[in-house]
Symmetry: C2
Subunit: 205 residues, 2 copies
């Protein structure tokens, strides 16, 4: 196996290290985060760090690097109080990735891609049309990770929309039925297929 020690990691070139460190923690969730600015411009940005924080209350979290693109997303969700998370299906990956380009705030990523905004009543942030799962989230809190000045954003799920064929009788959502992708590193998009689903694990004997 290839072995990197801490000192070797620190000496890598920036791009090599970014590729490496973004890959080795495994597959990441793939979402498009939608917001609207106070002046009415929609913003859409791809995120790969959304995690489940809890079921009751329904909470999600994601990491924001203050120095990277999605600052518009952050400013907008703090202004309006809301954002959307939209799962990315295989046919959307090229456009989804393009939302990571650094457009000025007055440009909507919806106008620069084939992705279409979908307005739903009572929610001041755009969903992505045809996303297999759409979540209307309210900004709840943020935590500064002092070790590297990143933010953990906490949001609550207030509206959840799921394509019917993905939703099982026990509440489990089979993601591959929507061709939902996952992210490998900074720029790789992978399509998972279900291998197996196990029962609740109990000690042997």
């Amino acid at each position: 196996m290839h072995h990197f020690e801490k000192s070797a990691l620190e000496e890598l070139s920036k791009i090599y290290r970014l590729n490496l460190m973004n890959s080795v923690t495994g597959y990441k969730s793939a979402h498009l985060l939608g917001t609207t600015s106070p002046s009415g411009v929609d913003n859409l940005a791809v995120f790969s760090s959304v995690v489940h924080l809890g079921s009751n209350p329904a909470l999600v979290g994601f990491i924001l690097r203050p120095t990277t693109v999605p600052r518009h997303s952050h400013a907008n969700m703090k202004s309006t109080g809301v954002f959307t998370l939209n799962s990315i299906s295989k046919v959307q990956i090229k456009d989804a990735h393009h939302t990571s380009a650094k457009y000025p705030e007055e440009i909507s990523e919806f106008d620069q891609t084939h992705l279409k905004p979908e307005r739903k009543a009572g929610w001041e942030a755009p969903y992505v049309q045809d996303a297999p799962i759409q979540m209307g989230c309210r900004y709840v809190n943020e935590y500064l990770i002092a070790e590297n000045d990143t933010l953990l954003i906490v949001g609550s799920i207030e509206h959840l929309y799921i394509q019917e064929e993905l939703l099982g009788t026990d509440g489990w959502v089979q993601l591959d039925k929507g061709e939902i992708v996952s992210i490998n590193g900074l720029d790789g998009y992978a399509l998972p297929k279900l291998v197996d689903r196990f029962e609740y694990a109990r000690p042997k004997n």
Copy 2:
């Protein structure tokens, strides 16, 4: 699409809600977290919330629900200062899932599965033999998420081992070459295949 409002989510049965909320945030990374207790018992637990926190310094994060199984992992990493994260390949999923069974602290999950511990010099936590990616991590800090009393654990990567065939010339690690899985919900294991890798996105004209 099926629509759940916040009030409907709150009224679901516990199991239905757990399945639902653990699925809708998308594919999760799959890791086995290895620790050793002060009395020398190895502990191994499956985690699906490991995220990349930063590349320089190399930091990972994961969520710990204080009320669930991996409390032994938490106590051990705080005692010894270290833990390991091991990616899960397709052939290991049944055993990996079984580590979520609630064994008493004096029982090592390595003895209850076919997974084998691998000791490496100078690291007081067991790696999982044949894991395509192994990370020796140091416990750095933890943050209490007050909204639901979960913890965000922050660790630094001090040793990184990668099977040679996964590691590209630009540092990107192609996870599907190691048949590394991702997790769908609480108990579904999926095998991703790379669809495409894109260039750094730049604004159109």
